[in-house]
Symmetry: C2
Subunit: 446 residues, 2 copies
C-alpha cells in the first residue's frame, strides 16, 4: 500500500448499530446531553462527531491526512515466526501501529483533535496520560499545529517512565505529575491521600478543570469517547484492504482494551460486515486481569473521571473510585469501557477476556524473539489473547485467520521487561467484594 491508500474517511459504527449507545447524561439535571452542551469542553467538530448517530462515513480533513502520511499506511504483517513457534495451523496477522514516530496508534486521534482545535481558533489544550503513549502523541500533534499543551501524567508513570515524560518535553509540552497542587481536584486528592500515586481518573479531572479555567482552551481525550474511536478506525479500514490484498478475511479480531481506542479502531470496520449479516467474525477485547471492567464490571451510568467533572457515561465500569494495581500496562488502567463498546458488549457483538500480567509478559517475550518487535505491555495483552486462540485452534484442528493490533512498541518500557525476567512481577486479581462495593455506590439512572 502507498500513501494514496490512506483512507479518506473514518467509519462511524453507531450509524449501523441497531441498539444505539445510550445518551450521555448531565449529572446535575439528569437530562441527556446535546452536542452543544459539550462545546465548552471539546472542539465543536469533536462534540458533533461524539453525537453523530447517522453518518456512516465522515471525511478525514486534508490537513489530518497530510500528517497521517508521516507514518501511514502502517504495515500488516503475517506473523510466521510466531506461528512456527506455536506450531499452530492458525494464520496470524498483526497490524503494526508501533511504526508511528511516537511508537503507538494514539497519533491517529491526536492529529485529528489538534487539527480541529486549531481550525476553531483554540490556542491552548489540556489532556491526561497514563503510561504516556497518548501524551507523547498529542505533544507531537500540538507542536505540529502550533498549540500550547499541558499534560497531566499519572504520578507513578511520571516517576517510573521518565523517558515518556522526556519525549513530551522534547516535543515542547508542559508535563505535570498528577495528582498535583495546580487544580482543586488534585489538591483534594493530595490532601486526602498524601502518598497516592495517581490514576487516569484523577488526571482527567485535573485536565478538565484546567481547561475550564483557561481562556481559549479545550480539553482533549485519548480514548473512551465516540469521536476518538471514530478517528482510530483508520487502522481497521487500512487493515481491511490489506487483508484483501493477502487474500484473507479475519475469523478473529483481537486488540487490547483500556478505554477502547485501539480495539475500536481495528475492529469497527470489520464489525460492520457482522452488523450487515455478511460475516461472523469473533471480536475479542483483551483487558488486564487487574482491571476487568468488560469481563466483570457492571453496566451502569458512571463518571469518566474520579472527581465527577465529566458527563455520566453508559458503560461497563468498576466504579470511578476503582484504583487499579500498578501494572506496567499503564494504558489499560481505566475503570470504564466507553459507550459504544459497552453497548456492543451488552448485545453480545463483541467479547472480552482478561489476561494476567505474567501471561502478557510471557507472550511479549515470545513475540519479541519470533517477530523481532518488542511490544508495549498494553499490546502484549492482545498477543497473549492471540496465543490462546492459536493454541485452541491447534487442539481443535481448526485453521482460523487471526488478526490482532500491535498498538505500540515497548522500547520505553524496558524496565518492566527487566523486572519480568528477574521474576519480580506479580499478577493482581480483583475480588468480587471490591467490585460490588465500588459499583453498588453508583447512582441508578438506567
Amino acid at each position: 500500500m502507498t500513501e494514496c491508500d490512506i483512507p479518506r474517511v473514518w467509519y462511524n459504527v453507531i450509524a449501523d448499530m441497531t441498539h444505539k449507545p445510550l445518551p450521555l447524561i448531565n449529572p446535575g439535571t439528569k437530562q441527556p446531553l446535546k452536542a452543544e452542551d459539550l462545546y465548552p469542553l471539546f472542539a465543536k467538530a469533536c462534540a458533533d462527531q461524539e453525537m453523530n448517530y447517522t453518518d456512516r462515513f465522515i471525511d478525514i480533513p486534508d490537513e489530518v491526512r497530510d500528517m497521517y502520511r508521516i507514518y501511514r499506511p502502517t504495515p500488516l504483517v503475517r506473523a510466521t515466526g510466531l506461528e512456527q513457534a506455536l506450531d499452530t495451523p492458525a494464520h496470524i496477522y498483526f497490524k503494526n501501529e508501533s511504526v508511528s514516530p511516537v511508537g503507538s496508534h494514539k497519533l491517529n486521534s491526536a492529529i485529528a483533535q489538534a487539527y480541529y482545535c486549531k481550525a476553531e481558533g483554540v490556542t491552548n489544550i489540556t489532556t491526561e496520560t497514563g503510561a504516556g503513549q497518548w501524551g507523547a502523541a498529542l505533544s507531537l500533534a500540538a507542536k505540529h499545529f502550533g498549540l500550547e499543551l499541558a499534560v497531566y501524567m499519572v504520578k507513578i508513570s511520571y516517576n517510573q517512565k521518565p523517558y515518556r515524560r522526556s519525549i513530551m518535553q522534547t516535543y515542547g509540552a508542559e508535563v505535570i505529575a498528577s495528582p498535583s497542587m495546580s487544580t482543586k481536584a488534585g489538591r483534594k486528592v493530595i490532601t486526602d491521600r498524601p502518598n497516592y500515586q495517581g490514576s487516569l481518573g484523577t488526571a482527567i479531572s485535573e485536565a478538565v478543570e484546567l481547561a475550564m479555567q483557561t481562556p481559549n482552551c479545550k480539553y482533549v481525550l485519548g480514548s473512551v469517547l465516540n469521536h476518538v474511536a471514530l478517528h482510530q478506525t483508520v487502522i481497521g479500514l487500512e487493515a481491511e484492504k490489506q487483508m484483501e490484498m493477502a487474500g484473507e478475511y479475519p475469523d478473529v479480531v483481537i486488540a487490547c482494551f483500556g478505554g477502547g481506542s485501539n480495539f475500536s479502531g481495528l475492529s469497527f470496520p470489520f464489525l460492520r460486515h457482522n452488523l450487515s449479516g455478511e460475516k461472523q467474525t469473533h471480536f475479542i477485547a483483551a483487558e488486564p486481569e487487574s482491571c476487568p471492567k468488560l469481563t466483570r464490571g457492571v453496566f451502569q451510568y458512571d463518571f469518566g473521571d474520579e472527581a465527577g467533572y465529566t458527563p455520566l457515561i453508559p458503560m461497563y465500569t468498576l466504579g470511578h473510585d476503582f484504583s487499579p494495581a500498578n501494572i506496567h500496562a499503564g494504558g489499560l488502567r481505566y475503570h470504564g469501557g466507553g459507550a459504544i463498546i459497552s453497548q456492543l458488549k451488552r448485545d453480545n457483538l463483541v467479547d472480552a477476556v482478561d489476561i494476567p500480567q505474567l501471561e502478557s509478559f510471557k507472550a511479549a517475550a515470545l513475540f519479541a524473539r519470533t517477530e523481532g518487535i518488542i511490544p508495549a505491555p498494553e499490546s502484549s495483552h492482545a498477543i497473549a489473547a492471540t496465543i490462546r486462540e492459536a493454541l485452541k485452534a491447534k487442539v481443535e484442528g481448526r485453521a482460523p485467520v487471526i488478526l490482532f493490533n500491535l498498538s505500540g512498541h515497548g522500547l520505553i518500557d524496558m524496565s518492566a521487561y527487566d523486572r519480568y525476567f528477574a521474576n519480580d512481577l506479580s499478577d493482581y486479581h480483583v475480588s468480587d467484594d471490591e467490585i460490588m462495593a465500588l459499583t453498588s455506590k453508583l447512582e441508578k439512572i438506567v
Copy 2:
C-alpha cells in the same frame, strides 16, 4: 516502494576505486593479510568480502533479503517541516533507517553476518557494542538464525543506558559490561585503571579474545570493516531509486560518522557516479568534536582495538589508546575511520566536519519538533551538518538537494535529552597535544 524493490545486490565500492585501500597488516609478521588469515576470526564469507577488490556487486542471499522485509524498504522523506523552520531554499531529504525494529540501520549488517555464520555451521558469536544499537541489532539477528550471542557492552553505556541492555536480553543475548573479568584484556584494564568506564576499543579486545577461546565461535563487528560497509549499501541503493522517484539527485550527502557503517551505506552507491565522472556530489561525514579522527587524526596503520588483537588497519586515527569523552553519541566514540573511508578521504573524494555536542542536540530538538521523530544522538550530528549546509545555501542564494541519513531514533536516549534541556551537557574539545602524543607512538609502517 514495495518489498519487491529491496535491492538484490550490495555495492562494493572498492571495485570502482582508482586507489584501492591499503591492505590489512599482520602486526607480528608485518605482512599483508590474505582472506584465509581472517577465517579463524570471521565467517569465511565475510572474510572473503573483506578482501574482495574486484566484484562491483555482490548478491544478497535470499535468507537475508527475507529478513530485510521486516522493515525494508525504509522511507525516504522530504523534510518540509525542517525546511520551513530554517527558511532555506535547499531541498532536504532523509532516509529513515530508524523504522527498523531495533531502531537503527545496524540490522542491515547484523542479519547478513548472523546468516553467514549460521550457514557455515557456527553456533556461537561474540561482539561489542557502545551505546547498544549494534548489540541490539545483532541480538535480534542471532535469535532469528538460532545463534548464541555474547555482547561486551561499554561499561558507561551498560550503566547509563539500561534500556538497551534490556532490549538485548529480551532478544535472548548475554550482555557483559566491559571491561570485565571474563577476559585477559579486560582483567588487564581493570587492574591498571580500576574505575575505567570502558571504550569500544577495549570491548572489541574482549569480544575477539572470547571468540578465539570458544569452540565453533566467530567474532562479529558492526562497523569499520569493508564487509560491514558493503552490507550497509542497501541503504544508498534504495535511496538512489527513491530520489529518482522524487525526480531529484543529491548535491550533498551527509551521514554521521563513528566507524563508518551508516555513512558508507548511504554514500557509496551515490559515490560510484562521482567515481565514474557522471556526478559531483559532495559527501560529508559528520563526526563529534570530541572524537575527530577524520578531521584532525593522522593517516597511519593502527590497531582496531585497544589491546592490539586485531590486524593493523590503514586509517585516519587518533591512536588506539584514545579515550573519547563520555558524549551521549556513544556510537561515534571510536578512534579510527576504517580503510575504505580513510582512503577516500585521503583522495579528497569524501569530506568531514566535526560537530560539538551542544550543536548536535540543538539540531535534534529542532528536528523532533518539525519532523516528529526524535533522533538518536549519533544521527543528530548528521542533522546538525545538514542544517549548516541548508543555512549556507540560504546565504549564498543556492537551492541544493541535501540527503542525510537518519540512522536511528533516540527513544532509548531520552536521559540525554533531559540533560540537554536542563543545560547539563558540555562540549569537549580535543587538544592538538593529545592527538600528537597518542599518534606519534604508532609504529611507522606506511
